[in-house]
Amino acid sequence: MNRWQDDLRKIAARLLDNREVALVIGWGEGAIPGRTIPVFIDKPEDAALLVVNSRCENNLSVYIPRMKERGRLAIVAKPCDLRTIVSLIQEKQVAREDLHIISFACSGIEDHATGKRRPECVHCKVNTPPVYDTLIGGEAPIWQEEPSAVDAIEEFKKAPPERRWEMFQAEMAKCIRCYACRNACPMCYCDECFVERSLPRWIGEGIELTDTMIFHITRALHAAGRCGECGACSRACPMGVNLGILAVKINEDIEKLYHDKAGMDPDKPPAFSTFRPDDYNDFIK
């Protein structure tokens, strides 16, 4: 991993030196030991701040829409982060030529509480970048530790409906509506979110349970067909809400019904921006 980091620093310094990009968005060591923070590098000498390791949990593409005014951007991205970048390109939030994507093969992000691999990374099927400009490192390092045996999402799927509703309620009851999930999500770039609209006021500001449910279901539906399954929402959550129970189901359905996987091909429209006349119709009377 150290060699990857050296490569990254050299590439970043070169890009800035040649004025190919105005800013490099990457990860740096955080103030809390073992945690990384986003760093924004605009001088070649600062490139030494960049790090790459299994603790680079933020999806940095969340900064693209608000940083693109600085000029051409270089961004360091995990393969899952890349899928959200592709979604941003599909939605014309950024032009492909205005980005220099630096990526690598990824073996997963470590949960800073347990030290084990994050559940979304255990399920990850896209651990090599679908598109990139520069690839650093080689093959993904093999993850030594075994993931925990209990898979919350599989358990949820297998439960009977009443139990599923109870489990969903229990997850939602944890939520304090801080909107960290929304703020960490690169696909939530709306200037005005429906939760903050006052005319009409869709949901209250408190932590009323049904309001919380509507927030999470609607957010998941807004991300449907665009979600790169990076898990940034779950990692950002201070209360440990398992948002995967919503996102995983939607992504599975989109793959099954519409044969689409978000963020894999910049030239293809997202699943909800297109249709086929012979789409799944059995649920309609």
């Binding site: 799927k157 409906p161 009443e162 139990r163 599923r164 509703w165 109870e166 489990m167 969903f168 429906f194 869709w202 009323e208 049904t210 309001d211 449910m213 509507i214 279901i217 609607t218 998941a220 539906l221 449907a224 129970i245 919503l246 189901k249 939607i250 359905d253 989109i254 019904l257 519409y258 699943a271 909800f272 249709f275 086929r276 006349p277 789409d279 799944y280 119709n281 649920f283 309609i284 009377k285």
Partner: protein, 183 residues
Amino acid sequence: MSEKESTAAPGETGRFEPKIVAFLCNWCSYAGADLAGIGRYQYPPNVRVIRVPCSGRVDPLYILKALQSGADGVLVSGCHPGDCHYIEGNYFARRKFAILKNLLVHLGLEEDRVQFSWVSAAEGERFSRVISEVTETVRALGPAHKMVRTLDIPESIISELQECAQQLGPSCPEHSSAKEAAT
């Protein structure tokens, strides 16, 4: 909670009468409902119709909001595929609704709470049949309780409020009649 009980109040026949919110597209299903009226086709009076320009206009949020506000069932009805007034609105709607419905069932909501249909402007009889079917399936499910917003006020606060009301009663012009009733 009291509102929920009124929802579950039995109709004339003593059965549970569900409240159903129906989002009907202006061009097909709403006209189909009109035709059902003109043709004197009977259908249960349980639906509350909301006219929308197109089934594609129906945001999943409307459906969730209807459930939260106490609807026992939600029906969205639009033009048959290929017949959309806006050419393709119902095709986009179909994709959204398939994902929404699967998600709600996945989360444990009853399958028939949220239903979808295609009814054209020429299908007055079919409209009455669809409404009857939807009403019967929702009736069979009983009153909605999942996702319904309720005001859970603790008993202690209710008794305190009642006490306050009793004490303030005579000085409050609105409660003068209550005073008379008490004396």
